[in-house]
Every structure is written in C-alpha cells, then in structure tokens.
C-alpha cells in the first residue's frame, strides 16, 4: 500500500537525516519502525506526510508511493485526502479547543452528515472521549490526549494511519488501553505504521518491523523473527541472552557488545 524506496531526507540543506531507506507497508497490516533516538524515525514519517517542509527539510532522493500514486513531496493536504494521516510525536492536540471541537476539525473533509456519523463512531470506539467532550484539550492528562489525537485522526476516515510513539509517557495501563485501541483498529482493517520505543508492545501488535540506525535501516523482518533476534532482544527488549530481564542496577558494570554485526 505504502512504499518507500531509498528515500533521502535533508534538513536545511545540510543535515542528511535519512540516508536512503526502503520499506513497504502492505494493505491491512501493521508495520512498526524501531530505532534509537535520532535514528530518523520521525523524520521518515514526516517525509511521508511531507510535514518536513514545515521544518525546512525536503526529500532529496528516492520516491514514496501510496497505492501506486507517487506522493513524494506532495502537498500534505493531498496526502491526507488520499487517506493517509500522520499522528505526530508528542500528542499535538489543539490545546485551546474542546475535545469535541478537536474531533470536528479532524473530520473537516466530507459532508456534515458523514462527520456527525464518524463523530459518534469515534465516541463509541473510544468511550473515554465521550465523557470528556467539553473539556479543553490542553488540560487533559497525557493518556487522554493520546486517545484524542488518535480519535482525531480517525475522523478523516483514513486508509493508513502513521503514529509516532503512541506510548510516549503513558502509564502501563494506559499503554494497554491505547494498544488495545490500535489492535482493534487493525482488526477492523486499518493499515498502521507505528514508530515506537516501547519495542515489546510494538512487536506484539506488529506483523512486520524495521529497525533504523542513524538514518539507515539496519534490520528488518516479521515481528516474530525480530523478537528472537539477539541484538533486538538485548538493545530493545533489554533481555539477557538467557532471556530474563537485565536489572538496570547492573548497568554500571556492564560493557556494551559491538553491535549489528552482519
């Protein structure tokens, strides 16, 4: 459905943040993009939705296609109209507007009636939001905001949703709730591209995963396979080779293995 082939992204004409990555998100599947800080995950998503243009960045090489149509450097508005929504890092709610207004705006495309229906649909999917209708979004707690931005994305009836770190700063129960939501979205046939740091839950949900390091894809494969990959186990799941969790207290006396051999 979504295909990137060796895409390069350049910020303010000097910083090459993504150095040619190739990836594909098949229809109806959930793909996750893992990687260290500054690996270029968010950048990749911004490149797809072409929001990088607001940060003085641009795609300098490669192509991005959605259902066969080339959307490289397309107007973000077009991208959304094509059915691809980008939920940005850090729960970007419209802070001064109420929850309901946020959702209404999310459904700004299409007729008023459709919007109304979708609104009810979202409320029924995400029960919490219904209760918060008239609260000012800026004052919601982290989890509520995360649910809100996802709900807002749904308002535009997307075919594919890209979510940047949905579990960022969420409490365990909240993480479960959010991923619960994501998995039944997936079940209802929505295609998902998720950037995550919380590798465990991400790999639970995802069918396929990519691992980025400093702008390149260094590892990819079906999530099952990734889960069993040594490096992923060590660096992303924090498991010792024997498989039980390392204690964070041992960090001091622990030397990092040379990584990503082969």
């Amino acid at each position: 459905m979504l295909e990137l082939n060796n895409v390069e992204v350049l910020y303010s004409d000097v910083i090459l943040a993504v150095k040619g990555i190739t990836a594909r998100v098949p229809q109806g599947q959930c793909v996750t993009l893992l990687g260290a800080n500054g690996a270029g995950k968010s950048t990749t998503l911004k490149a797809i939705s072409n929001l990088i243009r607001t940060e003085d960045g641009r795609v300098t090489a490669g192509s991005i296609t959605l259902d066969g149509t080339n959307i490289t450097g397309a107007n973000p508005v077009e991208v959304v109209r094509q059915g691809l929504v980008h939920v940005m890092e850090g729960r970007k709610v419209l802070r001064h507007m109420t929850v309901e207004q946020n959702l209404v705006v999310g459904g700004h495309m299409g007729s008023g009636r459709e919007a109304k229906e979708r609104l009810d649909e979202v409320y029924s999917r995400i029960k919490r939001l219904a209760a918060l209708r008239d609260r000012t979004a800026g004052y919601l707690s982290g989890g509520e905001q995360q649910l809100l931005v996802i709900g807002r994305a749904l308002m535009s009836q997307p075919k594919l949703v890209m979510i940047d770190e949905p579990s960022l700063g969420l409490a365990p129960l909240m993480v479960e709730e959010v991923y619960g939501l994501l998995s039944d979205l997936k079940a209802s046939g929505l295609t998902l591209l998720i950037v995550e740091q919380n590798t465990r839950v991400a790999l639970e949900l995802a069918d396929y995963g990519y691992v980025m390091e400093s702008g390149r894809i260094v590892l990819e494969g079906p999530s099952g396979q990734l889960k069993s990959n040594e490096d992923v186990r060590e660096f992303y799941l924090g498991l010792t080779v024997e498989g039980e969790r390392k204690s964070f207290r041992d960090m001091k006396h622990y030397r990092r293995r040379k990584r990503w051999l082969g």
Binding site: L10, S12, D13, V14, I15, L16
Partner: protein, 350 residues
C-alpha cells in the same frame, strides 16, 4: 565557523569571535577603511554612512531586545526619541558636555524602556509587541503637552555641536568620526553581551521562559534588563542623532521609523548582531539609492512626473522587504550560516 580541518584547541579560542589570522586581518583592514572613508569617498556617502552608524546603534539595541531576548518592540523610535530629547535638554539647557549628555541620554531612555520591560513580564507575544506601540503614542503626547520649558513642546530643541578639547564636531566628517567611534564601542559591546552570560539568559528567556525560571534565571529581571539594554542603545543612538541634526522634534521619531528598524533586523536576521548590521546596511542602501534614483529618472523621463516616480519608489522599498522575507524568511544571516556550514563540510556534499 572554521573551514574543515581547523579545530579550536582551547575553550577560549572556541569561544572567541575571531579565530583565524585572516579574519583578524580582514577586520583590521575594514576598520581602517572606515576611518579613511571621509578622505576618499564623496560627501554623500559619508553622510549616508553617518546616518547608517546612528541607525546601527539603535537597531543593535532592537536586535538585543527583540532578536536575542525575543521581546518584540515596535517602540524603538520612541526610546530613541527619549534619548535624543534627554541629551538635547541636558546639553542645551544644563550645558553638560556631550561626553556626559550622551550617556545620560542613554540612561534616561533605558529607564523609560524598563517600564515596558516590566509590562513584558505579564504581556507576551503579539500583545507585548503591540503595547510597545503605546510607547510611541505616549512619547508623542507627553513631549507635546508637557510645559514648553521642559521639552520644548512643539518648538523642539536646538543644540550646539558636540565639543571635545575645543574641537567642534560640526563638519560632516567631524560628525561622522564622532558617530563612528561611539558606534564601534556600542557594536563591540553588543558582541560582548551577546556572547556572555547575559546574552545567554536573554536567549533562554526567549526560547522558554518557564524553563529559564527553573534554571534559576530571574525572568522578571531578565526581561526588564533586555528592554533596558535595548532602550539604552536606542538612547545613545538618539543622542548621536541629536548631535547630528542639532535640532530635535517629535516628528523625527515616529512609528514608521520604528517599523523600519524592525524591517532591518528581519532582513539581517533575527538574533544575530552581525545580522543587525547587515540589515541596516541593506535597507539604508536601498532607501538611499532609491531616493537618489528618483531625480535622475525624472530628468530622463520628465513626463512621468515626480509624484508617480517617487510613489513607485515606495513600492520598490516595500517589495524589497517582502521579497527578502519570502525568499529568505530567516534573514541574510541564516543564509550565510548555511553557506558556512556546507563550506565546513566541503568537499562532502552534506
């Protein structure tokens, strides 16, 4: 920034402005050239340079206040006016020597500025920017309506030329040197402030005043300080202006002047001292060349008529500013930095 291969070997060197010998030499030559200007350049350009230097001082203040500390200020001309009037009053009524009257003017302007600095503590963003317009209005009103004896009201104040050890700064060249020396001190100071502790807390408050507070920065004081510095520069500029024209009236310090000052820091690039200087240069050059183009055009194509030609000039001026913003919204300095960055990476493309 240094070309690839050159690295700083000490923190002092890493912090200093001038790193390589060539940079030092260029700077030196430039300064020499400035001092030699009246000897080779024709009168017109000396006069233009003089007004540029004065403007530079004022705009530098604006840059520190707005570009560095992020407190947008559209009342800079009013601050300049306060300085000019204070200097004029002190010099002509109390007969202070200029080396006292000039700084005093700066101080008075600074005091006036602090008032708005304190307002800036609660009022932020556009709201602040627009309240500083009030400075303009209040300045105008008070000068006109306070007793004539104090500020001359509608009469304005006439002044004698600045005088030092019997030398009168009266000739065009004389005034030029006066402005040059003062401006160079102020510019050096500008760089000093920008690079030291104070410049940093200004920028900190600009970027995130909540976090700054928790870094132990007294946000109230810092904002007030920013306005104080900015207004002080404006005041010094005003004082120079007073000694340049030797007659001050309110209509020399109007809102439109403030707006031009803003335009200059934009074109030059927000937050950079050098940028401010570039901005002043570019805009004043544009203005001057356009005002001198006018008469020429009229002589060439008389049927156009003066009104049309000169009106068209305004379109150019506005177009220049807008053009700069459209094609380099972050100002010339930003373009320059990018150039330097890629130059540093050279020969690698990115």
């Amino acid at each position: 920034m240094d070309p690839a291969g050159i690295f700083s070997t000490s923190y002092r060197q890493d912090q200093s402005l001038i790193r390589t010998r060539n940079q030092a030499i260029t700077l030196l030559l430039f300064i020499v050239a400035l001092f030699a200007l009246p000897m080779f350049a024709e009168v017109r350009s000396v006069a233009v340079m003089t007004s540029m230097l004065i403007t530079a001082v004022v705009v530098l203040g604006l840059q520190i206040n707005t570009g560095l500390a992020g407190q947008v200020n559209i009342g800079q001309a009013a601050f300049m006016g306060v300085g000019a009037y204070s200097t004029a009053v002190l010099a002509s009524k109390l007969h202070l020597p200029f080396w006292l009257a000039l700084p005093a003017g700066g101080v008075f302007a600074a005091l006036f500025g602090v008032i708005f600095g304190l307002a800036a503590v609660r009022i932020k963003g556009f709201y602040l920017a627009l309240t500083t317009i009030a400075a303009q209005i209040l300045f105008h009103f008070f000068v006109l309506n306070l007793p004539q004896k104090w500020l001359g009201g509608s009469n304005g104040i006439t002044m004698q030329p600045a005088e030092l050890f019997g030398f009168k700064f009266e000739s065009d060249a004389g005034v030029y040197y006066l402005c040059l020396v003062v401006a160079m001190i102020m510019i050096a100071g500008g760089y000093g402030i920008a690079r030291s502790r104070h410049g940093r807390i200004f920028a900190a408050v600009r970027d995130d005043d909540v976090a700054s507070g928790m870094m132990g920065i007294n946000v109230v004081r810092t904002k007030a300080l920013a306005f104080l510095v900015g207004a002080f520069y404006a005041g010094i500029g005003g004082g120079l202006w007073a000694y340049y024209v030797r007659f001050v009236t309110i209509d020399q310090f109007t809102l439109i002047h403030s707006i031009w000052f803003i335009a200059m820091i934009i074109v030059g690039g927000m937050g950079s001292i050098t940028g401010a200087l570039i901005g002043v240069f570019v805009i004043r050059m544009a203005q001057e060349s356009i005002t001198s183009m006018g008469p020429v055009l009229i002589e060439r194509i008389p049927f156009l008529g003066g009104d049309l030609v000169f009106a068209a000039m305004n379109i150019f001026l506005g177009g220049i500013i807008a053009g700069f913003l459209i094609f380099e919204p972050r100002g010339l300095m930003h373009r320059w930095n990018i150039a330097k960055r890629s130059y540093r990476m050279w020969p690698y493309p990115y």
